[in-house]
Amino acid sequence: MSAYTISIVSIIGINVILAVSLNMISGFCGQISLGHGAFFGAGAYAAALAMFATANVPLAVVAGVIAGSLLGIIVGFASLRVRSDFLAVTTIGINFLFVGFVRKQSWLGGEMGISGIPPTGLGAAGNMVMILLMACATVALSLYVSRSWMGFAFRAVGEDEQAATTLGIGAGAYKLAAFGIGTALAGLAGALYTFFTQFITVDAFDFIFSVMLMAMVVIGGIGSTWGVVTAAVGLTLLPEAIRFVNDYRLLVFGGMLVLVIRLAPGGLAGLTRNLFDRVRQA
């Protein structure tokens, strides 16, 4: 495998974890978060600091997961206080706050970021394998949660919070759970990203990136794990394959997002389901 292939596959793995985890918050539980990049970043910075302090990979992973979910649970508490349309705005704010805060912190490298992060010792191919294993585990967890009673309750909370509470489902607890799980996985992705690049700047975790993750979720089909995985892989490869897409990334993804919402709100998953139904009926 060429170094280029290894790096692309690694990024695909990381994006799959990010998109699938965002889908748990926004797709399963209906809590629109446009700040997923902040939790990703919190995990990356925490893992970087942990690598400098201990050079211990499992410890750095744990640090990333904890940092992501800690920030996530704080935002989750905010989600209990605000209506869901305000939540989108709140999470955008969190993302800008995160980037603005990190930029001014010399202990986090400020504008320059953190470079020379100690390697994992697994090599680029070893890192890639670790990332792919974690991505598979994330997909498996997502599929499991979706089938469990938790996924069932998430759907209820996402569709009608008040109706859910009248069936004994504590909407607040479930929203916190969704944020806790989703952002812990974003923190995990952050740690893996740190291992992968050994050099992080805060620009990698900005609002634009969060919007791209949301585009993956929406284009894949809100709530569908496999749809979102497909979109994450496709949308990561597209800019690599087509120069134009890379140059006009925001325009292309923004345009696709709008088109999907207008024409096929079920995303790729919805389109496949329709096709399937039509074939079966024919």
Binding site: S148, M150, F152, R155, T166, I169, G170
Partner: protein, 255 residues
């Protein structure tokens, strides 16, 4: 004390409207109470306060001897309360069966961690199907709830309320929008529920049905209790009678 539900000077105000103006009453276990009154009397508001969907400005809500005034709705439901919404609120994107299965799974969903650790829905599905059959919705299981007509959605509301295994059910106009046959079937179901020992509080406009099945009547007008007792005696009270004639009780539109 055998009161399963007790209200102590409950009041709430919306802007200039005193929707509920200090209601006190106690409902005994196993009773069948009709809550009636003209449109805008505050019946739905009172039900929503009991369920915890609205927080009263003052007063207490006591369920099974425990003060739940500060508790969220989900906690009250876990204590044995269930309600049907006057304006139906099914999960439209779920199947009819799933709507009821979800309610029947209250033992799992009451705690996120327990919900995460359980997958099988077999027992709940069987129970849900039986409950759907008991309210006359057999055959609709696989339809999306959003595709049902209002008459069936009203029955789905009742099915979901029963699936949480309540001790007390608050039914907010469960007959409104049903045709005559559907309504008598629904009344029959509600009577059966009561015979199983579940306490029923029924908000209903159809006086004939109310007089026939309720053992006690509470009459609300302008957010205040103006009559409470044995149905025939209450209806004979001139104060109640005046509220009726003056209050547009005769006509009634959904919502």
């Amino acid at each position: 004390m055998s009161a399963v539900l007790q209200l102590d000077d409950v009041a709430i105000r919306f802007g200039g409207v005193q929707a509920v103006g200090g209601v006190s009453c106690a409902v005994e276990a196993g009773d069948f109470v009709g809550l009636i009154g003209p449109n805008g009397a505050g019946k739905t508001t009172l039900i929503r306060i009991i369920a915890g969907l609205l927080r009263p400005d003052r007063g207490k809500v006591i369920l099974g001897g425990i003060d739940v005034t500060g508790d969220p709705t989900s906690a009250r439901v876990r204590c044995g309360l269930a309600l049907t919404h006057q304006i139906v609120r099914p999960f439209r994107e779920m199947t009819v069966l799933d709507n009821v299965v979800l309610a029947a799974g209250i033992g799992y969903t009451s705690e996120p961690l327990r919900a995460l650790l359980h997958v099988s829905r077999r027992r709940e599905s069987e129970r849900a199907a039986a409950i759907l059959a008991s309210v006359g919705l057999a055959g609709t299981e696989r339809k999306l709830a959003g595709a049902l007509p209002l008459g069936q959605l009203k029955r789905l509301e009742l099915a979901r309320a029963l699936a949480v295994s309540p001790k007390v059910v608050l039914l907010d106009e469960p007959l409104a929008g049903l045709n005559h046959t559907e309504a008598s079937k629904q009344v029959e179901t509600i009577s059966e529920v009561h015979q199983r020992g579940i306490t029923v509080v029924l908000v209903e406009h159809n006086l004939e049905e109310v007089m026939r099945i309720c053992r006690r009547l509470i009459v609300l007008n302008n957010g205040i209790v103006i009559g409470d007792g044995e149905p025939r005696e209450v209806m004979a009270d001139p104060v109640v009678h005046d509220a009726y004639v003056g209050g547009g009780m005769v006509t009634h539109a959904e919502a």
